[in-house]
């Protein structure tokens, strides 16, 4: 399938072997180039900015890796982190997926023991590109199992560049998906390989690769639900074989055990609904295997008798068991599924019940343009790949189609899961393109062969001959396509009749040697087709490189903008964290919205109240309530949490749109979900969210407004907010319970300190000083507030 010429080498067996060897070397060299391509296309952010860790979640992974490299694996496994979620803390060992950290840690340790002194940060930054190269090679292996080497190489090339995968694995994006996608594709490859060969060795490797996937990402539930679905599909379509049993049954047992070994999963591996599909199909598979075994033992008549007996008894038992199971599962309110899985199955679940999951922008459904942005040309190559998978249908190709269909559904629910669709899209597109190239190149080869067979028989100048030969070959090709018997030959020109008859006579025996339905197209069409496909590939490559360079390489921690006087760099985040780490005590607590928790602990090394893990909704709601309340109430809430500093992100001066004022409504919603006195309509004027003069008094008095816009009017005299596009409502006000300690260069991060409580309480002092009339009238007129 890879080298059509190799099996029909005219130079004999030695020539065939040489061709095979050459093909193998070419294949290996191409794979090497694909790996280099996958690695280097992800380096744009390192070149444009610097070798820095991006976004928010990678900072947590980086901090954990630092801890691992400093303290060793036993400390890491038992680590209780008290610098986050104050005062609750977080059990890191039991709540983190250790795969990524352990991989990077092992890589760092290996390099250091070989005396290559790379820092932990460098290893973390470049882990993702290395594993994307590995993922391309895994895609090659997987597609080779389904359709052959040519399709494999094509799919690997496409995966190396697909923008959806690049977006989550650029250099610096040190997140779980960087290694998890490699583990996913590799696990699927080993499953398909076991299915094709029936070897228990590959089944063992499959279980170990599944273990690596469980260690790496919560998306492992996709594997443990997709493979049972495929087994069920094979059974239902009559493709049960003993290889299927060997591929699936050891995986279930070993996989469940290995999944239970990972502390994050633990007993969830046998108790949550996400895994029940595998157990159910395990039982069904055994029943089917037993049925086939008994069928092999008995005569057909006795087998029928057995079936009637078994069905009457077995059905009753089955119903009883299923009824018990359903009662058990239905008794739990979430039917045994976790919140995240439920929000995938029912897309409206999160917005109704779990506002935190609904508020993350990655969890929104994707728009149509994002499909074309993320998988580009593949979007319309996929249907061609699906059709190609059906001709002929094998276990492996049915698996591909099933993988694609389920991944397409899930990507429609959550834009983050476009990442799971990307490998399926690449594989099917690779299959489609490879088949297309196969047909077109075969056509050109056949037409050229006919051309060279035809040339000694003709006379006249070569140009006329070649054109006539090509038209003649076109006609003969049309004849071949139309019917097997060539009864009538269309008479184009009487002088060419004799030549055509001889050609048709030559071509008929050749055709009988070939397979029956081999499609051969006219040569110009084939050449045109190949050219157009290459142009299509060119468009894809150009788009991918653009997407990697412009769209997906921003580190989010450093921002740049171009204006008429050159390039501006906004490094405010790191400025603020550096200030915090240099000017505050080690034990000071910093309160901010949960987005910035990971970065604050990693870069500023201070204890935070809430962070991106968002495991405790009430704690987040407390912070949200504090941000939405007036100053005094907010001071009290923060004081009860021992907070010393409050950090807000404000983009109004420079036009940074992802600041806290734009996220504020989510704070209100989440806070209002737990504390009912915070009501969202209080902050909206006629249903609109405004911070200008039309804003509600609750909005203008809340802590977030005050901390963001304190002294903002001093910048331009009018207080014009560049993000919202209007002047703010309350311009001149003083802070009573907080004092500003730091504002970064572009006013993007503002840090405030809680003012300590006053020693004297003036109200009490008034009572002691009895008699003085003036002082009592002053006391009556003054607000009984200890801070004023």
């Amino acid at each position: 399938m890879a080298e059509p010429g190799s099996s029909t080498a005219a130079a004999g067996d030695g020539g065939g072997r040489l061709r095979n060897a050459f093909g193998g070397v070419l294949c290996a060299f191409t794979l090497l180039l694909i790996g280099v391509l996958a690695f280097s296309i992800r380096l744009f952010s390192v070149i444009k900015y610097e070798s820095v860790i991006h976004e928010f979640d990678p900072y947590f992974n980086f901090r954990v890796t630092q801890f691992l490299s400093k303290n060793g694996i036993y400390e890491f496994w038992n680590w209780f982190d008290d610098r986050t979620w104050y005062p609750l803390g977080r059990v890191i060992g039991g709540t983190v997926y250790p795969g990524l950290t352990l991989t990077a840690g092992t890589l760092w340790w290996l390099l250091n023991s070989l005396n290559i002194p790379l820092s932990v940060e460098t290893v973390c930054v470049f882990t993702a590109p290395i594993f994307s190269a590995n993922a391309s090679w895994a895609t090659y292996l997987l597609t080779k199992e389904a359709k052959g080497t040519g399709a494999g190489l094509m799919a690997a090339t496409i995966l190396a560049m697909v923008p959806s995968y690049i977006s989550r694995s650029v250099a610096g994006s040190y997140d779980n998906e960087a290694v998890a996608i490699f583990a996913l594709i590799f696990t699927f490859y080993l499953y398909v390989k076991t299915l094709n060969t029936g070897s228990l060795f590959y089944a063992t490797l499959n279980a170990l690769s599944y273990f690596y996937m469980v260690c790496s990402w919560g998306g492992y539930t996709f594997i443990i639900n997709l493979i049972p679905m495929h087994v069920l599909l094979c059974i239902v379509t009559g493709r049960y074989s003993s290889r299927l049993y060997i591929a699936f049954a050891p995986l279930v047992i070993l996989g469940t055990l290995l999944a239970a070994l990972v502390p994050v999963v633990g007993f969830n591996a046998v108790m949550t609904s996400e895994h029940f599909a595998s157990f159910l199909v395990f039982i069904i598979l055994h029943v089917v295997a037993l049925v086939y075994y008994i069928k092999g033992l008995l005569t057909p008549r006795l087998f029928k008798v057995a079936m009637t007996l078994v069905i009457s008894v077995g059905l009753a038992v089955c119903f009883a068991v299923v009824a018990i199971l359903i009662a058990l599962v239905a008794s739990s309110p979430t039917k045994g599924w976790s919140g995240r899985s439920l929000s995938l199955l029912d897309p409206t679940y999160a917005s109704k019940y779990i506002p935190i999951i609904a508020s993350v922008s990655e969890h929104q459904p994707p728009t149509w343009p994002s499909y074309f942005m993320d998988i580009n040309v593949l979007a319309f190559l996929i249907p061609a790949g699906i059709i190609s998978c059906f001709l002929p249908l094998s276990d492996a190709s049915s698996f591909m189609v099933l993988y694609l269909v389920t991944a397409a559904y899930f990507s429609g629910v959550m834009v983050r899961l476009m990442l799971v669709l990307a490998p399926a899209a690449c594989i099917l597109s690779g299959i489609a393109l490879s088949e297309a190239f196969n047909v077109l190149t075969r056509s050109i080869k056949c037409q050229l062969a006919k051309l060279f067979d035809d040339s000694p028989a003709a006379s006249g100048d070569s140009s006329a001959e070649s054109s006539s030969a090509s038209t003649a070959s076109t006609n003969s090709a049309k004849n071949e396509n139309r019917s097997e018997k060539t009864k009538t030959i269309p008479k184009e020109k009487p002088s060419k009749n004799r030549k055509k008859e001889r050609e048709v006579a030559e071509s008929v025996p050749v055709k009988h040697k070939k397979e029956k339905k081999l499609l051969v197209l006219p040569m110009e069409a084939s050449a045109m087709g190949i050219l157009l496909l290459i142009v299509l590939g060119g468009f894809y490559v150009v788009h991918c490189v653009w997407a990697a360079a412009e769209a997906y390489s921003a580190p989010s921690i450093v921002l740049t903008s171009r204006s008429h006087d050159g390039l501006h760099v906004f490094d405010d985040f790191r400025e603020a964290y550096a200030w915090l780490s240099h000017n505050t005590d080690v034990d000071d607590k910093v309160a901010s919205w949960w987005d910035y928790g990971y970065q604050t602990t990693a870069m500023a090394n201070r204890t935070v109240i809430v962070d991106n893990n968002t495991w405790n909704n009430t704690h987040i709601a407390t912070v949200g309530t504090a941000m939405s309340s007036p100053e005094k109430v907010a001071w009290e809430i923060f004081n009860s949490l021992d907070v010393k500093y409050v950090l807000v992100v404000f983009g109004g001066l420079v036009g940074y749109p992802s600041d806290d004022i734009n996220k504020f409504l989510w704070m209100v919603r989440i806070g209002g979900g737990v504390f009912p006195h915070i009501k969202e309509p209080d902050y909206l004027r006629d249903g609109n969210y405004r911070v200008d003069a039309q804003a509600t008094p609750t909005m203008l008095n809340c802590l977030m407004y005050k901390l963001c816009y304190y002294r903002f009017v001093e910048t331009d005299g009018k207080g014009f907010d560049r993000v919202r596009g209007y002047e703010i409502g309350k311009k001149h006000f003083k802070l009573t319970h907080f004092e500003e300690v730091f504002t970064t260069h572009h006013w993007m991060v503002r840090i405030y300190k809680l003012k300590p409580q006053k020693n004297r309480v003036r109200g009490k002092l008034k009572k002691l000083k009895s008699g003085s009339k003036t002082s009592s009238t002053i006391a009556a007129g003054r607000n009984k507030n200890p801070w004023q």
Binding site: G198, S199, L200, F201, A203, T204, A207, L208, S241, S242, R243, Y245, I246, A249, P250, I253, L254, T256, L257, L258, A260, L261, F267, V270, A289, I294, G296, L297, L298, T299, L302, V305, A306, L309
Partner: protein, 114 residues
């Protein structure tokens, strides 16, 4: 009903006769499988009596029994001479794979036993 019972008897007899014709090595593997499943059932009954704490020990015990049974079935499939898909597979290779998979399984079990 009498037809059903006589049919059932005939069924069981023919099953027994057909099974007696299988080669001895396969019968040994079947015996091993029955032993593993019986051990698993005994463990379930024991759990019903004394309760499921510690759960990880119960889980590892059960899954080790079922795991060895499954692997024995896989070995039987690969060694069976009637299986045309595996006629090029030497039985030594099948046994080696079986041993390897059992090793991995029991390593995991010992880790999880607690």
């Amino acid at each position: 009903m009498p037809k059903a019972t006589s049919d059932a008897k005939l069924l069981i007899q023919s099953l027994g006769k057909a099974y007696a014709a299988t080669p001895t090595n396969l019968k040994i593997i079947d015996l091993y499988m029955v032993f593993a499943v019986a051990t698993a059932l005994i463990q379930v009954v024991y759990m019903g009596v004394v309760g499921s704490f510690p759960f990880n020990s119960f889980l590892s015990g059960i899954l080790s029994c079922i795991g060895t049974a499954v692997l024995a079935v896989c070995l039987r499939i690969q060694v069976n001479k009637d299986n045309k898909e595996f006629k090029d597979l030497p039985p030594e290779r099948a046994f080696a794979d079986f041993v390897l998979c059992n090793l991995v399984l029991h390593l995991v079990i010992m880790n999880f036993l607690g």
